[in-house]
């Protein structure tokens, strides 16, 4: 009997080991697929350039040098990247608990206005004023996102609906405030300029790159820490993977949904804050969405909802955005081609399932897979 038990243990262990190995070996595609998608996206872009008669190699050289060829280019690329890190993190954090925050643009705008408001309202010592202005943006974005979480948790209203709606409320509200009650003297539809004490300092004179980059990287590290090192992160991930089991484990799912939407909104809000305090030094009346919130979705997808992936994804989209302009002016490749590249990358990443399915089928043929159901 002893011997039998040992034998069974071996077989059992062997099978779960095989399954585990299989799952582990499929995990590598989490890293490979985004990279392959980028390459494939660039190829698709090259095809389009060929079709319109441009030289893709020249174009991609320009794309590269526009971001990495000069300090100025590098700085501008990072300026593009900062808001995308924030909105990418916002969407990624939402994904982790199973929420789809499409409201990044609204949260961006509300925080943009709130930070600018604190920035021009009074003059304070910088070590007090700047954190306060940043905090205002965090709170404004957080509340704006958290409200959608509240509606979801209490009334079951889907967050996609509410966040889209609230984008428009934010758009018109900020537009009204910036061109009405909070408008500065003069013709410009914008708030007064913020005081120097509320500005995110620039890294180097003559370049637009500002401290927002440290905020963004700090946020990515913080989100990583929250997700994988804290009880809150445990609860967020458990809820996202299986909310029934989370409930079983005594996790307050409703509370966590609200909190997660608050954090997500605050992250998107930080994008608006860095726009106001780091670049524009005031809040202009918006004439539409800049689209950082939506691009954030793409960034989160390419980054597989992992903070490090989000940073890399944001860099990629930052490079593409910077290169779009230069490619147009220098090699005559319309900037729409870059949008095609971006779109193809997203499609390739999103078709991961198909790719994994094919790999799985192929490995089943080889007899490599234990019925992984």
């Amino acid at each position: 009997m002893k011997k039998w038990k040992e034998e069974m243990t071996l077989v059992d262990k062997d099978i779960s080991e095989k399954k585990a190995n299989y799952l582990k070996s499929m995990k590598i595609f989490d890293y490979i697929i985004p990279i392959l998608s980028v390459v494939a996206g660039l190829l698709v872009g090259a095809i389009f350039m060929k079709i319109i008669g441009a030289d893709p190699i020249e174009a991609y050289k320009v794309l590269w040098s526009s971001s990495f060829g000069s300090m100025r280019g590098f700085s501008e690329m990072l300026v593009n990247t900062i808001p995308l890190i924030f909105t990418g993190l916002a969407v990624a954090f939402g994904f982790r608990i199973g929420l789809f925050n499409i409201g990044g643009d609204g949260q961006f705008l509300i925080a943009y206005l709130a930070s600018a408001y604190i920035g021009f309202l009074f003059q304070l010592p910088m070590y007090f004023h700047l954190p306060l202005a940043v905090l205002a943006g965090i709170l404004a974005g957080g509340v704006w996102g958290g409200f959608a979480g509240y509606l979801k948790a209490t009334l079951g209203v889907h967050e996609v609906i509410t966040t889209i709606m609230m984008n428009y409320i934010a758009l018109y509200f900020v537009g009204y405030m910036a061109s009405g009650p909070l408008k500065a003297q003069g013709g410009l539809p914008a708030t007064p300029k913020i005081f120097d004490s509320a500005k995110l300092p620039r890294l180097m004179t003559g370049l637009r790159l500002h401290w927002g980059i440290f905020l963004a990287i700090g946020a990515a590290i913080l989100i990583y820490y929250i997700l994988w090192k804290t009880p809150l992160g445990y609860e967020v991930r458990a809820t996202g993977q299986n909310s029934d089991a989370a409930e079983f484990g005594g996790i307050n799912v409703a509370k966590n949904l609200m909190l997660a939407m608050f954090i997500s909104g605050a992250l998107a809000g930080l994008a608006g804050t860095s726009q106001a305090l780091g670049l524009e030094y005031r809040a202009y009346q918006p004439f539409g969405f800049i689209g950082y919130g939506f691009t954030g979705i793409a960034v989160a997808l390419v980054g597989k909802s992992h903070p490090l992936g989000v940073v890399l994804g944001a860099l990629l989209f930052g490079v593409l955005a910077r290169g779009a302009m230069m490619m147009q002016s220098m090699v005559g490749v319309p900037k729409e081609v870059v949008q095609i590249i971006q779109a193809s990358i997203i499609i390739f990443v999103a078709s991961e399932y198909i790719f994994k399915y094919l790999v799985r089928k192929w490995r089943e043929r080889k007899g490599d897979v234990i019925d992984a159901s």
Partner: protein
């Protein structure tokens, strides 16, 4: 030996390899025309792999398959279907919002002017359901019908596609005792009509009751094919497990102490907002196992969920350790000392994509020593996880793999480890052994009795009457959300409980027996 025509299916020397594991090792199976053939083996023995080879989900590495004497290469399920093979899966493959008729004709809808001819479809469904005595309501939506009915729809679906040979994968796993009986008579009428049936199972009693012949496989190897009449249940068990199996659980008499849980007049609604608990009252004492027997859907799920804070009660009182719990909240109940082995381990009990160590702290993940306010202490968690995996004999390469890579039995052991380790005063165990192998069942039964002997109170909810009878010290029968009666195990028989499960009071049952005598 060549395949003869009296065999509906002959599988010869089937070998299916997964690297390092022989899922099927030279397995033979012969299905005669018009017979019910059981394929018996433990979970993971290779039964489903063998049937997947026959149905074309997998291709065997070696061996031949003959269908009605003709050698067939079954490369995919369409080939199998074309040769008259139909498979009813353990997990039904139905479209819940579709009607019974729509589900049955799905994939082969009769059409008229390129529109689906529902009238004709409905008529055809009625015809075959009549022919085989499988009553269904063709217009009911699948989501509204019982599990037993859904299974009939699955069988009809296969018959509609012209199946002559039916493979039923663990068909009784989801059924109530009554539904099992209905299924048996359906299977008999099918074989009367000339169909041949292979049914996969690990339940010995069913083999004896239903099958004509049985093929036993163990660890992927063919053990024997025999007439079911020629072996006892015990012998079948030995063949299946490969050693002596203790079918009877040995346990000394309970020494119950003070009352731990007292439930009075409990009312609660189900998911469809109908009253599912109608004034249930009972109590559980330290050092005893109270079994709740009943047909599925009589309020067991709701009772479990109310007692563990996962469902709101409408009225009634719950007293735990002498104090009334006004608003049962999962987290508080956990901390007060209630553990819960949920009936659906994959939906409720585990986060399948979490590692084992993460799963092992679910419910106490925010408490010392596993975490402080802002920091998880994963080092301690992993150490504890290794200890629990060892203590509870969870078979796994390590604690880092995901829960979904474990077998069902080991997943359940993982939950048991987590819930027992908390040293609860009350353990609510719902269907603790559903769908797992004999080894794991024995193990979990032993552990439950051990907990009882350690002076814990245990509330056991099970649809398996055998399990209730062998584990419980007292048995409460639940019917339509009410506790019909509570018996000492010495006074309970399967017959008596069966009648009470249909709503009869125990005095009536006694009376009925008197008349019989």
């Amino acid at each position: 030996m060549t395949a003869s025509n009296e065999l509906a299916v002959e599988m010869k020397g089937i070998t299916k390899r997964f690297p390092g594991v022989l899922a099927n090792d030279n397995v033979d199976l012969q299905l005669k025309h018009g017979e019910i053939h059981a394929l018996l083996g433990e979970n993971g023995a290779g039964k489903t792999t063998l049937m997947n080879c026959l149905y074309g989900f997998l291709e065997a590495d070696e061996g031949d398959i003959f269908i009605n004497g003709e050698k067939v290469k079954v490369t995919n399920p369409n080939v199998a279907i074309a040769h008259g093979i139909g498979m009813v899966h353990q997990h039904f493959m139905l479209v819940p919002p579709f009607t019974v008729t729509e589900n049955i004709v799905l994939g082969g809808e009769p059409s008229k002017n390129s529109m689906i001819d529902y009238k004709k479809a409905r008529k055809e469904v009625e015809e075959i359901s009549e022919q085989y005595g499988l009553q269904v309501d063709p217009d009911a939506k699948v989501q509204d019908i019982s599990v037993g009915m859904q299974q009939r729809v699955e069988i009809l679906k296969a018959l509609y596609k012209g199946a002559e040979i039916l493979i039923l994968d663990e068909p009784t796993a989801v059924l109530t005792p009554q539904e099992v009986e209905e299924l048996v008579s359906i299977m008999e009428s099918l074989t009367d009509e000339g169909k041949s049936i292979i049914f996969i199972t690990h339940k010995l009693k069913e083999v004896k009751a239903i099958a004509d012949r049985v093929t036993v496989i163990r660890s992927g190897k063919w053990i024997d094919t025999i007439d079911t009449n020629s072996a006892t249940t015990n012998e079948l068990a030995n063949m299946m497990v490969g050693r002596e199996v203790i079918l009877e659980l040995e346990k000394e008499k309970a020494q119950p102490g003070e009352v731990v849980l007292e439930v009075e007049d409990l009312y609660a609604k189900n998911n469809r907002d109908l009253m599912a608990l109608n004034g249930a009252s009972f109590s559980v004492r330290r050092g005893e196992i109270l079994g709740i027997a009943g047909v599925d859907g009589n309020g067991q799920t709701e009772l479990t969920e109310v007692l563990t804070g996962l469902r709101k009660k409408e009225s009634g009182t719950i007293k735990f350790k002498g104090r009334e719990i006004k608003k049962p909240q999962t987290k508080r109940l956990f901390e007060e000392g209630i553990s819960h082995v949920p009936e659906d381990r994959q939906r409720r009990g585990l986060v399948m994509d979490f590692s084992l160590y993460e799963n092992l702290i679910l419910g106490r993940h925010d408490r010392k020593p596993y975490a402080s306010k802002f920091k998880m202490n994963y080092k301690t968690v992993k150490n504890e996880a290794r200890r629990l995996i060892k203590d509870f004999d969870v078979r796994t390469p390590n604690e880092v793999v995901k829960a979904k890579s474990l077998s069902g039995g080991n997943q359940q052991k993982l939950i048991i480890a987590r819930e027992f380790d908390r040293e609860p005063d009350l353990l609510v165990a719902a269907q603790p052994t559903r769908g797992i192998d004999v080894g794991a069942i024995e193990y979990i039964h032993e552990k439950l009795v051990e907990q009882r002997n350690n002076n814990k109170a245990i509330l056991l909810l099970s649809l398996e009457l055998d399990e209730i009878l062998s584990l419980s010290d007292r048995i409460a029968v639940i019917y339509e959300g009410e506790i019909v009666d509570i018996l000492d195990v010495e006074d309970a028989t399967e017959e008596k409980l069966g009648l009470m499960m249909a709503g009869a009071e125990s005095e009536e049952v006694e009376g009925g027996n008197d008349v019989g005598r």
